[in-house]
């Protein structure tokens, strides 16, 4: 009896090993091309397949929402995902590894910037074609990418530097309001600020500057926290930054020029999908540059032993201030994008719930890890959308999941892993003949 069970298990293990072996030979470009094929297939045959298997329309998010809303459609949703997404990816991954590796090698032989550009274009292409199906997908993707920026920026402080900051929703609010005030005042006719001061045609070109201004304003706000918190060693940051978040919120609520508690609308529609994508890529690139430099690793040294860092010539106070302002900048940029994606902001958004959300993304994904933050932000944003039909129960399931992660992996799922794009796009070893 026991033996049979063992054999069963070992057989199953063999199968999974084999599958893993097949797929370990697939380079990154293979997965991308698989996804591209999948989204193209969906674009062309999606509605047809959906109606054939009895779905009312193309499932918005991989069928999860349909399954929860109308459970009897579960088999159809699963079939849809299998045919449209998994089959193309599987086919390319399974049968293409030889030429995919050749392709990966070819791409690597191009100049570095061109390789990167091609990969980015491919990724954007997938995103674009997939989102093209519905406005809901576009919105979900934009908010997801903004969550990536915010999570990464918080990970710099809570993960890499090992202090606990609660002020990121506050920075986000500052960024959102400053950039919105600029774009609305300059490029939109609005009852708060009157007619546009500059020709609206200039708007999209100057939008990056508005975002940067929002980020810079958030950095100035961060200075208010950093000066008292980093004067001496010790855990003041958590408390001061929490207070800061509430103060920012109530200041905005009482600031009638920007609409007070009612919020502020009529932001021009500048934050389209490519814009958000470019900012997200820039953020990942710059933050990853920073944390992999010896200057950035000083944050790790400070976290692990501040005294030793000082004794090894690290200017700890300056390093902490810089990192905090840098992190606030990106939270501000995320806020600016957020405001222009929704084209409306109100102070209520930037409260304790936002804080809980971004903390969850950081700790779920993994501390001290760019991969982790991307993973945390993407998976939790999607999960929140998947579970939307459950309404309140969503707020039981997500925290439970987090508790499990915290118990079994206290630093998060992909913690302490260095993000390396060059390594990611390397060709994989091609399989031996007999496999």
């Amino acid at each position: 009896m026991e033996k049979e069970k063992d054999r069963e298990i070992s057989k199953r293990k063999k199968v999974t090993d084999k599958i893993r072996l097949w797929f370990s030979h697939v380079p990154f470009i293979g997965w991308l091309l698989g996804c591209l094929l999948a989204v193209v297939v969906e674009q062309i045959f999606g509605s047809m397949v959906a109606s054939m298997i009895g779905l009312p329309k193309i499932p918005a998010l991989f069928g999860f929402v349909i399954i929860l809303k109308e459970p009897f459609l579960t088999p159809s949703a699963i079939i849809y995902v299998l045919i449209i997404y998994l089959l193309p990816v599987f086919l390319i991954a399974r049968f293409g590894s030889a030429w995919l590796n050749a392709l990966a090698r070819k791409l690597l032989s191009l100049p570095g910037w061109m390789t990167t550009l091609l990969y980015l274009l491919l990724m954007y292409g997938i995103l674009h074609i997939w989102s093209d199906i519905s406005a809901y997908r576009v919105l979900t993707m934009k908010l997801m990418m903004i969550a990536v920026i915010l999570t990464l920026s918080l990970n710099v402080i809570n993960g890499y530097m090992g202090e606990f900051s609660c002020s990121h929703p506050g920075f986000m609010a500052i960024g959102a309001y400053v950039s919105s005030a600029l774009t609305v005042m300059l490029f939109a006719d609005d009852k708060l600020f009157g007619p546009a001061l500059l020709p609206p045609a200039l708007g999209p070109y100057l939008f990056p500057l508005a975002l940067i201004a929002g980020g810079a304003a958030a950095s100035i706000g961060a200075l208010v926290i950093a000066i008292p918190s980093f004067r001496t060693r010790g855990d003041y940051l958590a408390i001061i930054s929490l207070a800061f978040m509430f103060i920012v919120k109530s200041i905005i609520e009482n600031l009638e020029v920007v609409g007070g508690p009612r919020g502020m609308g009529s932001q021009p529609d500048y934050a389209n999908l490519p814009t958000v994508f470019i900012w997200t890529v820039a953020c990942i690139w710059i933050i990853n540059n920073f944390v992999t430099s010896t200057r950035g690793k000083a944050l790790n040294a400070i976290r692990d032993d501040e005294l030793a860092a000082e004794a090894m010539t690290v200017n700890t106070r300056q390093t902490k201030m810089t990192a905090f302002l840098f992190s606030a900048f990106w939270a501000g940029v995320a806020g600016g994008l957020f405001a222009h994606v929704l084209r409306y902001v109100n102070p209520g958004t930037f409260g304790i719930q936002k804080l809980a959300e971004v903390l969850a993304m950081v700790y779920f994904g993994g501390l001290n890890s760019v991969y982790g933050s991307i993973f945390g932000a993407v998976s939790l944003s999607l999960l929140e959308e998947f579970l939307r039909p459950l309404e309140l129960f969503k707020w039981i399931i997500i925290p439970l999941l987090l508790i499990f992660v915290m118990i079994y992996r206290p630093t998060g799922l992909i913690a302490f892993r260095e993000f390396n794009f060059q390594k990611m796009i390397q060709p994989r070893k091609t399989p031996d003949k007999e496999v």
Partner: protein, 256 residues
């Protein structure tokens, strides 16, 4: 002119006088030691010299520049490298990263390099890395370069601390009980290493040590500290024969 000159340094922790009227002159290239019973104030002296505490009174001059009152990182950058009595390593970082980190003050690529990369940063990082590897080679731990320090055995961790301190190009290296908790074999290896780095790099070394065998063999000059006060200073022979030292400290131990 001595490299480091300390005059009448006194330090109080609240009401406790941890160091009293301490004087010191370290010559370039000298190896000397600070000995004394537990709680005598030896580590406190090191912490004062490296800027972790600011002395209540007295002056500390490095190459005729007053350094008391500077931040520890400034003092370190001026050439005082140190190790700690109870290892202070960065638990999530690799050996190589430790040794590279001590070059922090010499990095000049600035925030632009840190945020956007570029040729200057690549050049400097490569240079730092190459240097780090050669120091690891010197200390015989090059093969551990990519290991995270917490996974290393105790002896190797001690070496990482030494490598890190050397990496900042010290004029004086402060070693706080470098052989604490080592067995005789590790002990003699560590002594060889101290001799080797001193021979190759030529900085002065100031060490705190409990094992008199180490002190007597390595050092030109020894100070004995008891209750924060120096009760004797001299060559190993002089210290060995000094009745005050024997009474206060050596009486309980055997000298070889």
């Amino acid at each position: 002119m001595p490299l480091l000159e300390v005059k009448n340094m006194t330090h109080y922790f609240g009401g406790l006088r941890a160091v009293h009227n301490y004087n010191l002159a370290i010559e370039p290239g000298q190896i000397r030691a600070l000995i004394g019973p537990n709680g005598a104030g030896k580590t406190t002296v090191f912490n004062l010299l490296t800027g972790i505490y600011t002395p209540t009174q007295g002056s500390i001059r490095l190459l005729d520049e007053e350094i008391s009152g500077l931040m520890p990182h400034q003092i370190a950058a001026r050439g005082l490298g140190r190790t700690f009595q109870n290892l202070c390593l960065w638990r999530h970082m690799t050996v190589l990263e430790h040794v590279k980190m001590a070059r922090y003050s010499r990095i000049s690529y600035g925030l632009t390099g840190a945020f956007f990369g570029g040729a200057k940063r690549r050049g400097q990082e490569a240079e730092i890395e190459e240097r780090a590897y050669s120091l690891l080679e010197l200390l015989g731990i090059r093969h551990l370069a990519d290991q995270v320090v917490v996974n290393l055995p105790y002896g190797a961790q001690r070496r990482v601390e030494i490598a890190r301190a050397i990496s900042l190009e010290p004029k004086i290296l402060f070693l706080d009980e470098p052989t604490a908790g080592m067995n005789p074999e590790e002990l003699s290896k560590t002594m060889d290493i101290i001799r080797k780095i001193h021979g190759e790099l030529g900085f002065a070394i100031y060490l705190i040590e409990h094992r008199l065998k180490v002190v007597m063999e390595l050092c030109e000059k020894i100070q004995t500290l008891v209750f924060g006060e120096v009760i004797a200073e001299g060559t190993p022979e002089e210290i060995r024969e000094n009745p005050k030292v024997i009474e206060a400290y050596l009486g309980k131990e055997v000298i070889h």
